[in-house]
């Protein structure tokens, strides 16, 4: 809890950036891993002494205890969803593997939900469909993550492709999944941008009105397209997914985006997402989010509304809890009964 607000982090990842996980059959694999690490080293905020140590090895496979410490012991987070990243381009066991995400949820079922992930271009559509059955039926996935922009154009696919994408969504629906999630925008390296545009989600959002579509990273640089889609489609939600990391670099831009989101989409459809572990611990970003304001000149000049405590409460936890069927009051009681492993739980707001 931060300032008595329940925090349900939409997205954390137990990444595997270790050298043994790098594909040996792809010359672009090791440089891509190094590029990603260099990128996140720049965006990550300081605040966790262990991670601020220059000798800390980020090219690692994240394990459950380290992740729990980062997200729950060092940050005022109450619940989180750990998400597979089915990016197979450069990693043998994917960028954020199925097994490490599942291990996190299995070790801490009261606090962590497992979001599986599949890709029809990995071993074909039938294998992806079997994987949905396995990840939902056997591993207990509550949601599924998709990544349809890849390094090779032949590996890319569109969400509105009725031959490839729709069977995935139909199978997910048949297994009881109601929340589908998509990495959009934010290409890694030299991928073609168009596969990371959110415009291909309009068809599925229209054709699967009983499913909810969560788009990550505000689909930047496709912000205006994303805004229009989220404003028009009642079943499209936006995950901030690491977005607050930019606040240190460009606070004005973050205020501008947030103000426009509140004006056009509303705080009912925005989800908090820290993107730990590569973005670092969630604590400093949570503190920044509690303090962010929409400045007067943006309120006057662009008509953006001021962010309120209600907005923060919805964004930080209520919206995702509603989507995932979590009763916050019941969950608070359940978590309060757990052994005291989170020193921040009783302390309320923390400063990193």
């Amino acid at each position: 809890m931060i300032d008595d607000i329940f925090v349900f982090d939409n997205v954390i990842h137990l990444y595997d950036m270790s050298t043994p996980n790098i594909r040996r059959d792809r010359a672009d694999a090791a440089p891509a891993r190094d590029r990603i690490l260099a990128y996140v080293n720049k965006l990550r905020w300081p605040g966790v002494p262990r991670h601020d140590d220059p000798d800390f090895e980020w090219a690692r496979r994240w394990e459950v205890d380290d992740m729990y410490d980062l997200v729950f012991n060092s940050s005022p987070t109450d619940m989180a969803m750990t998400q597979v990243v089915p990016m197979f381009d450069w990693f043998e066991d994917w960028y954020a593997p199925v097994l490490t995400q599942h291990a996190m949820a299995a070790a801490h079922p009261q606090r962590v939900m497992f979001c599986g992930g599949v890709d029809p271009m990995y071993r074909g559509l039938n294998d992806a469909l079997d994987q949905i059955d396995f990840q939902v039926g056997t591993l207990g996935a509550k949601s599924l993550k998709f990544y349809n922009g890849h390094a090779k154009i032949a590996d890319c696919w569109r969400c509105d492709d009725e031959r490839i994408a729709y069977p995935l969504f139909e199978r997910a629906r048949n297994t009881g999944i109601r929340v589908l999630q998509f990495h959009k925008g934010n290409p890694y390296g030299l991928q073609n941008m168009e596969y990371l545009s959110p415009i291909d989600l309009q068809g599925p959002a229209r054709d699967f009105p009983d499913m909810n579509f969560v788009v990550h990273h505000l689909a930047l640089p496709y912000f205006e397209e994303m805004l229009s889609i989220a404003a028009r489609f009642p079943n499209v939600y936006l995950s901030l997914a690491g977005y607050m990391t930019f606040y240190r670099i460009a606070p004005r831009l973050v205020q501008d985006h947030l103000g426009r989101l509140l004006q056009m989409v509303g705080s009912d459809k925005i989800l908090w997402g820290s993107e730990a572990a590569l973005a670092g611990g969630p604590a400093p970003y949570l503190n920044a989010f509690m303090e962010i304001e929409i400045p007067e000149d943006l309120r006057v000049g662009y008509g953006y509304p001021q962010i309120t405590r209600d907005d923060r409460r919805k964004i930080l936890g209520e919206n995702f809890a509603r989507l995932m069927g979590v009763n916050i009051e019941e969950k608070k009681r359940e978590l309060a009964a757990l052994p005291a492993t989170n020193p921040h739980a009783a302390a309320g707001a923390v400063k990193a």
């Binding site: 404003a231 009642p234 009912d268 459809k269 007067e296 006057v300 008509g303 001021q306």
Partner: protein, 112 residues
């Protein structure tokens, strides 16, 4: 005094009929015990950049004219207090709010 559900329903229906001119509509989501009405735009109005204008000129004044309604919340769109004041000032000379409220009330009564 609490707002009557029937009066709120009729007002939202009357507003929705007017908004059909925009190929859109208005839907009642909630009426709270303390008189806060929550609505959302549908059709072409969902996601429209000009929702705040229709809200300020028609939806808000017509619903606030219903006895017991204390506030109007529109899901998915909100503008700053400064922008609301600017809109109100610009609309004032045309008496748009009063005219819309009168039309909506007449339409709601004729349906009841």
């Amino acid at each position: 005094m609490s707002a009557e559900r029937k009066a709120v329903d009729q007002t939202v229906d009357a507003l929705s009929k007017m908004i059909r001119a925009h190929a859109g509509g208005l839907e009642l989501i909630d009426l709270s015990a303390d008189g806060v009405v929550t609505v959302k735009y549908t059709g072409m109005c969902a996601g429209c950049q000009y929702r705040p204008v229709t809200t300020a000129s028609s939806v808000r004044p017509a619903l606030l004219a219903v006895a017991g309604v204390t506030d109007v919340v529109v899901l998915g769109t909100r503008i700053s207090a400064e922008a609301e004041a600017r809109l109100a000032q610009e609309l004032a000379p045309y008496a748009v709010q009063a005219r819309v409220t009168r039309i909506v009330q007449r339409s709601a009564w004729s349906d009841s």
